[in-house]
Symmetry: C2
Subunit: 503 residues, 2 copies
């Protein structure tokens, strides 16, 4: 006899299939789709999204959820069954709160805004984007109102990307972070660190690709259940626990772009490939939050991939691949080059020290916009002031300032903070892994990642969306989100690297 | 105010989107999908197929069709509106005749049968496939019964692939064809033609690819609205008039496989890219029939691509690409090599002369199976007897005999004849094109294909599914389907090539 939970799961499965199909179409769009197909693809994605939404908010979903709810009473909190019901209820409550016309209007408005943003950025002319952003802010305020919130309107939007996180918790973390980080960044800037131009020479694309793929294999990426392709902007997407795709870009004049792009996306992909097989084709086959997802990508990219131990193993093979470029560069020079710190205007090009400053200034601005204390018309001036305050730099134009990121053209207010959360959590998780795997640094120095991956799978990956970020931190690290470990990591790494002490 | 036709069209658009999305997932499966994803992909395709079917046979479709029907009364037969209503009615009548449980059962049974067929073929053991084929034949008889027919049960199945074609018309064409073709094939065999082993040397894969792509461009394939990838078996698939994908395979030890594969699929793709833009996202954005589709692929692959004129232009560039292989081979030798005729056991490897013999023997066997005069258990013996009769060859085992083709494992009874129809129609169309483009052979000899493509677009491509194969022949050639022109082409080409006369 079929259980109520099974019936509920069966009811949701086609919805997951539709979302997965949309993910395949999205992946194709960024990797292989010919340019003429843009309009047709938009229509196809629109149809898949609409059908998935309609099936999800259908009365039958709620009815089956109620029956399943009764059945899971008394079951373990993190059982597959209880977790599915809990997470589905959360998703369904949110989905049903949004009026269909608002969903449709947001889809249409963001589609148009993206076009306008691209043009505005190309021309460095915020005026072209302004009416669209006005509209998106207005729709986002309506959306937040429809979703509801306890304390602050920002919480409603943030919850889309980082369930359970609030503006107030973020502020308390970011305030402490800012007061410590700004002086650290200034201290590093005062020391200075030389440019390493050997990164800029002409690297063979296929060799770069092969080297990155070899490391992905060493990390534990399963190429029988995923693959890597090229795209303009690296990303990870999942069609199934058994089909996780990453992309990278290769710059033949800048080795780190492709290499660390691959390692970063590989971190995301290891998370998705590591979700428990029993959660396949359910709402739980996904990451806990964008912050936790980013913690995995940053852990592999930075804490592993930009560490001195890591290059103790991999620098010789890299030199062997690129003897003309790196033959005369010693390992320590290379290590310094890939960890060069310098405040810069563009977030995606920034180093691990100044990255969080980019996030915090965007967070401040989003709060001001949503509290309607800052008008969209005044945003470029406010951006430049924040840039001066956090980075000590003022953009020369809006393209390298307020127009640099795609997120606002997608109405993704509340998204940026998850990048910083990922940075902070990555160190919280990694510190605990180091305690429980005493030889971890030795293993990394030998190119052995099995223990680390097993640890991450056990503590984080296998749970999928069962547990929130807070629950994962509590269970794994035994504490709340905190900037302290990340700051300690930065102080330790860069005082060693630059020979300076920090307050 | 929205018209009833527009409302009907809007209603069908999401169904087209679902089918297109399924096509994207199918393409990915054959080109890039990692092996672990098979099960998840089957579920996703199942969901897309089921939803598209349900939306199509919903009561609303019939209601909107009735209103649209009234509106198109008095409109031109081949207007977009009248054609949409006419074709949609035909599709809907068929779709609603099939009980859902039969559709589902066929999907499940073919899925299992494909697995069994692969294993059976690998082991050359028909016994492993036999129970599946029994089941599929039984289901196909049920399906034909549900669809209904006037004269013969075969007509119901044939109509799925070649609308309007009947067993009786096929028989009259094939009977004439057989009586003429068998002696021609014997006459050629009696002359013999030497093996051309220079085709078998080691050709660089990228150079083969680039050469094929260059010809596709010359033919008129629009790479802004399509692309080519690699797959185990070449195919063409369409996600939109503006997104038509072909695949090819490259054998580094057999140049013709990849090259003529590309030209063949390019012929299919030119048809799809040439459908009138106004038919985008409708049921009409497709080929008239599989036979007409095959006529386009064979026209470009064989009548253009294997002609002496064609190589007058392209052989020098080919020699330049492969000087080590072809430097010492003159153009005429090459032309003979790519047109070598020899009866062989495997359909997909056969030359243009003997190809139709493979089709006719399958047609005979399908008729016997569907009339229940031949039991599945006796099929291998019957196959071997037919092979002897048509080709003068008896397979050494079932893998190179009755198990060689995938079609029956898909329950695709009635599909094979469309290959022969394509061959016949290709010459009917091409002869007319030659009459109307007096310099056509000269143009081909100069690598100019614009006039030919424009002619095909005007007479065939732009109509999409508006007209049937019979209507296209009537309007373009002014006659019915006929084997005569194809036989004349074969006689002419091979008497010239081999220096023999035919009866």
């Amino acid at each position: 006899m079929q259980t109520a939970v099974q019936a509920f799961r069966d009811h949701l499965a086609p919805i997951i299939d539709l979302r997965s199909a949309a993910a395949v179409l999205g992946w194709d769009q960024e990797t292989y789709m010919p340019p003429g197909a843009v309009e047709a693809r938009a229509a196809q994605l629109g149809t898949l999204g609409k059908l998935a939404h309609e099936l999800f908010i259908a009365d039958e979903t709620a009815a089956l959820l109620e029956m399943a709810q009764k059945e899971v009473e008394g079951m373990e909190y993190d059982s597959d069954e209880a977790s599915l019901v809990r997470v589905a209820r959360r998703d369904l409550e949110k989905a049903t709160k949004l009026p269909s016309d608002l969903v449709e209007e947001l889809a249409r408005a963001t589609s148009m805004a993206q076009q306008a943003w691209q043009e505005a950025r190309a021309k460095a002319d915020f005026g072209l984007f302004r009416p669209h952003l006005d509209r998106l802010l207005d729709l986002s305020l309506r959306k937040a109102g429809a979703l509801g919130y306890e304390d602050h309107i920002y919480d409603a939007l943030l919850d889309e990307y980082e369930p359970g996180m609030t503006k107030s918790e973020l502020e308390s973390v970011f305030d402490g972070l800012k007061s410590e980080l700004v002086p650290i960044a200034r201290a590093i800037a005062a020391v200075g660190n030389e440019a390493h131009l050997f990164l800029g020479s002409n690297y063979d694309a296929q060799s770069q690709w092969d080297f990155g793929v070899a490391i992905m294999r060493d990390f534990g990426f399963d190429f029988d259940r995923g693959r890597q392709d090229r795209s303009a902007h690296p990303f990870t997407t999942t069609f199934s626990i058994n089909d996780v795709r990453v992309t990278t870009r290769i710059h033949d004049d800048f080795l780190p772009a492709g290499l660390f792009g691959s390692l970063h996306e590989c971190g995301h992909a290891l998370y998705e490939q590591g979700v428990s097989a029993g959660l396949e084709r359910t709402l739980l086959a996904d990451g806990a939050s964008l912050g936790v997802h980013e913690s995995q990508s940053r852990l592999w990219e930075i804490l592993v991939g930009r560490s001195r131990e890591f290059w103790a193993h991999y620098y010789e093979p890299l030199q062997d691949r690129f003897p003309d470029h790196l033959g005369g560069v010693d390992r320590e020079q290379f290590y310094r080059a890939i960890n060069k710190v310098e405040a810069s205007l563009i977030r995606v090009e920034s180093d691990e020290v100044t990255y969080n400053l980019h996030i915090m200034m965007r967070f401040d601005l989003e709060i001001d916009l949503l509290e309607e204390r800052l008008a969209v018309a005044d945003l470029p001036q406010a951006w430049n002031a924040k840039s001066e305050e956090y980075l000590g730099l003022v953009p020369g134009n809006d393209a390298e300032g307020v127009l640099q990121d795609i997120h606002w053209s997608l109405a993704a207010f509340g998204y940026f903070p998850t990048y910083a959360l990922g940075n902070l959590m990555s160190v919280q998780f990694f510190d605990r892994a180091r305690e429980e795997i005493p030889d971890l640094h030795g293993q990394i120095g030998r190119g052995e990642f099995g223990d680390l991956l097993r640890w991450l799978r056990d503590r984080i990956h296998r749970h999928g969306r069962k547990l929130t970020a807070g629950e994962l931190l509590e269970r794994t690290v035994g504490s709340e989100l905190s900037a302290g470990p990340w700051l300690a990591h930065i102080r330790h790494k860069y005082s060693d690297l630059l020979g300076v002490g920090f307050r």
